[in-house]
Point group: C2
Chain length 359, copies 2
Amino acid sequence: MSVELNLSADPVELTVALVNTPSVSGEEAELADAVQRALVEQAPHLEVVRSGNTVLARTNLGLPARVVLAGHLDTVPLNDNLPLRRTGSGEDELLHGCGTVDMKGGDAVFLHLAATLTAPRHDLTFVFYDCEEIEATRNGLGRIERDLPDWLAGDLAIVGEPSNGVVEAGCQGTMRIELRTTGVRAHPARAWMGVNAIHAAGEALRRLESYEPRRVEIDGCHYREGLQAVRIAGGVAGNVVPDECVVTINHRFAPDRSVADAEAHLREVFDGFDVTVVDFAGGALPGLGAPAARELVAAAGGEPVAKLGWTDVARFAALGVPAVNYGPGDPLLAHKQNEYAPAAQIRRCADVLRRFLTG
Amino acid sequence: MSVELNLSADPVELTVALVNTPSVSGEEAELADAVQRALVEQAPHLEVVRSGNTVLARTNLGLPARVVLAGHLDTVPLNDNLPLRRTGSGEDELLHGCGTVDMKGGDAVFLHLAATLTAPRHDLTFVFYDCEEIEATRNGLGRIERDLPDWLAGDLAIVGEPSNGVVEAGCQGTMRIELRTTGVRAHPARAWMGVNAIHAAGEALRRLESYEPRRVEIDGCHYREGLQAVRIAGGVAGNVVPDECVVTINHRFAPDRSVADAEAHLREVFDGFDVTVVDFAGGALPGLGAPAARELVAAAGGEPVAKLGWTDVARFAALGVPAVNYGPGDPLLAHKQNEYAPAAQIRRCADVLRRFLTG
């Protein structure tokens, strides 16, 4: 039996239907089919396109500005947390289950707006994509960027990741380096004939421990950087002075620094050490100066906050599209077995975006 | 065809025959058979006993003192270094191949003496044992200690491990500890919510790096201690602040310290850290004050030196038998593919021991 999604009814009920259609990364076909069918049938004012398990829809009204609303359809693996459970009622109702927070609440808000905003004040593009929760090479948004780039063009992008219904602006960059110390093997009974590479890593750990991460304010958003060893490995055998030790270090940097800036900074911090960049992803400036972004902040009320983790917001920023995270649910509950979203927050997000997009 | 060993001829030729009978740990049967047969046939003045792949032989002359001469028959695994090759000639001849240094040169010296010293001035016990190069639980000398303890009794033990033909006295002890730091996991983008266990290990590495090992003189032998990290491991995943890091540390300590002393010292050095003792072996005091030991040092000439590595000398010391290492070959070449022993050193060791044992 195929899933029926009612897009124009309560977005909370729509969230329930989306969550109860499991869609672990790579297995989004059933949900993408239902989303595509619902958009074609219930949003005839939209151009709808399918690419793999990504569903795209847009208005073509010739308006001066375009807002992109993007949400991934996939979830992390189930953890004995489906079907969805509801507790409380009215303003206190909570939706529990895999995907309630990350991010079917946001998807429901966007799908509801897609069907009901027939006369928006900006042109709208909706992107419901696959494979966000796994390796970056399979990310559906990355595939659209390569295959259908005009579908990501716009003046503001809203990524519906959980943000507690607060505008989270930009995101921090991330860089992973390997710091390698070398030495000379010897027998521990004649240690003076060798050089211990693990001992040599001590100075790097000391610099990590005493490192004072920057705090940066941009467009009123407060970013907090980080520099953390995430792995250390060294040793040959129980009776050998080791000749190599590798420390893997993750740096999270505020979006006023480019990837090149971040690398230069790390090379300065670890001056004297052999440093190799393993991977990186640039941050995204909050971009709250863009007119559409200002309108959204005004509609949402309250103060925008800095996004500390890396999200697909950075893909839009790299394309020159100001981008924010805005969606229901507490991001700290994402990927947790007990994730839950407040029903009232889902409705509030839909109301805020409707106000913003109808003006 | 079974191996024939000529015990009374040149110990260099005997070394060649022993080396060309491969006897990797656990596979000593053929060589033990040949040793047993040769002793029975060519040393009728000795009581000969077989235990597993260990061959024991002794005089029972009722003399006031007894000297034990012990050598292991096994080698580390072959490394494309058999059959034995000979280079040079006369005083400069070298024997190359697996076991030339560790320790068939020493075995040949002892076997030669077993057959030719028919009227020694001390009673003699010879122990040719198996499985020295592998885990301690399989060590043949340990088995004899449990099953035939009177065969290890004596007033001096000489272990024929390579010592460059110099008396190496006593040996250092060894202790391995695990030092564990703990923390609290967090996402690196919100690192201040966690505690990094790898960073916490930095202070332990700093103490290791600045540690000044003791140098100790006992009975004229100079011991040089050591404290070395031999392994470090920590890390959960590339995007997790790690909550555990383990440093494995090997301490080599001079024989004036007991195992308990060594542990107390390590707990003091790493005060504030979680320390677990993983394994240990006590050292052995040089014991050069014993009359037979003084005679041996006089016969060998030169200054005795401290043994830095751990050898089976410590087993004898633990039994209350003063024990030294004395054998041909450079210990630094042991376990190397290119190990080689000078033929002249093999003959010189036989001459020294003959002088010592005939007085």
